[in-house]
């Protein structure tokens, strides 16, 4: 039995296989509509989410399966003080697979240690979010066509932005990937990701506070939101929340075939006017999330 807690648990070959299955689902959805008949996905969301939870649920429904679960901690027994371990022991006796989001980092790992069924980490605090990374990879695959030989800029909250950490780690396993980390000083990418993941992999990277400095070189610009829920101090959040705003004028400095991604939800960091630009791919990205999760559910349930 396999779980998915950290994107690096999947080999490059397995990611290629998931991307291929997702592409096949997009091309031939009817082939997959009964694959998970009589299977149940439990979505345990101890922290609010729209996209991730709904895309997991849509994915399971499109595979012909069913969904049960909760969408906030207040409607679960954790509000009564139940431990993650106990919740999972119970839920794994009701469901065939579990998708779990939790504000505490490492909670899905604890769940996987106690579960009788596969557990998917649907986001744990500011730590990991592997299915968002799979979503990002599927979008890059469909829009750029390859993972090797790309220059990707990450912009915004790179300190707490778990999607950035996971995507940078995943891309570090491909050839000739250049990474540009654009953030305010206070929200720089954690040093351990640079020193323990990117440098040993031989990844060329640059850190800058200037969004425009490398704009013309980028194949992918990955924008992120400064997340209010990650700050203990509201004053810090207010000071940093509008550090970078991508507008149409800036997008026009990008290559014609570049793409702008964002894990969503956005607040102010991408102007609405950018949505109409052909480089804006974040809504396509959200759609890719459903298909890659379908592929992942099939893989973890070992359904061919």
């Amino acid at each position: 039995m396999r779980h998915l807690i950290d994107i690096l648990e999947l080999s490059v070959e397995e990611i290629d296989e998931l991307v291929a299955v997702a592409n096949d689902i997009i091309a031939n959805p009817e082939k997959y509509q009964e694959k998970c008949r009589h299977k149940k996905l439990a979505t345990l969301f101890f922290e609010p989410s729209t996209r991730t939870r709904l895309s997991f649920e849509a994915a399971m429904y499109e595979l012909g399966g069913n969904v049960l679960g909760f969408s906030e901690a207040q409607s679960s027994s954790s509000a009564k003080g139940e431990s993650v371990a106990d919740t999972i022991k119970v839920v794994s006796s009701y469901a065939d697979i579990i998708a779990m989001r939790h504000p505490k980092e490492g909670a899905p790992m604890v769940a996987s240690m106690k579960s009788d069924v596969p557990v998917i980490n649907a986001g744990d605090g500011g730590h990991n979010h592997p299915t968002q990374t799979l979503t990002d990879l599927l979008t890059i695959n469909r829009e750029i066509g390859h993972f090797d030989n790309i220059t990707i800029g990450f912009c915004g909250d790179l300190k707490f932005g778990r999607t950035v950490h996971s995507l940078a780690s995943a891309l570090s396993r491909y050839e000739n990937v250049k990474m540009i980390f654009i953030s305010p000083e206070e929200l720089r990418i954690p040093e351990h990701i640079l020193k323990e993941t990117l440098e040993p992999a031989g990844i060329e990277y640059v850190e800058t506070t200037d969004l425009m400095q490398y704009m013309g070189e980028l194949d992918v610009l990955y924008m992120t939101r400064v997340q209010k829920e990650r700050f203990f101090n509201e004053a810090d959040y207010i000071r940093l929340k509008d550090s970078y705003i991508l507008d149409l004028e800036k997008v026009h400095c990008m290559k014609e075939d570049a793409c702008v991604l964002h894990p969503l939800p956005r607040v102010n960091e991408i102007a609405i006017e950018v949505d109409e630009d052909p480089r804006a791919k974040y809504f396509i990205q959200a759609k890719c999330g459903k298909y890659i999760r379908m592929a992942l559910i099939l893989k973890l349930l070992e359904i061919k």
Binding site: V84, K104, E105, G106, A107, M109, V110, H127, E196
Partner: protein
Amino acid sequence: MIIGNITNGIVLDHIQAGKGMEIYEVLKLSELSCTVAMINNADSVKMGKKDIVKINEVIDLDLDILGYIAPTTTVNIIKDGKVEHRKRLQLPERVVDVITCKNPRCITSVERGLKQSFKLTNREKGTYRCIYCESEAK
């Protein structure tokens, strides 16, 4: 000061000065019924000062914990008054319930009954990270 040699037992030598008491506590040596000698700030050619612990009995030692707290330690097993076996320690791959994760966002801060577990992520720098949230041990 003279502390006699032991015939059968363990000598923990080359302990970084000041770490001896920590080892004494972590290895729960106070619970032993045999003679235990603690020598602090002994002169050392190699280290300047060092601590030494002598245990007058061969016991099972948790070498992982010892390696984490005091990696310079050499463990000498003494039999019939002679060093039968000498072991140099190295940083263990895992340490359990020795370090506490300081990240307030870590699941270990709230989950009952969860062991604090850290893995070695950089041997050269001796960096340990929580297996749950990957925060560096402080």
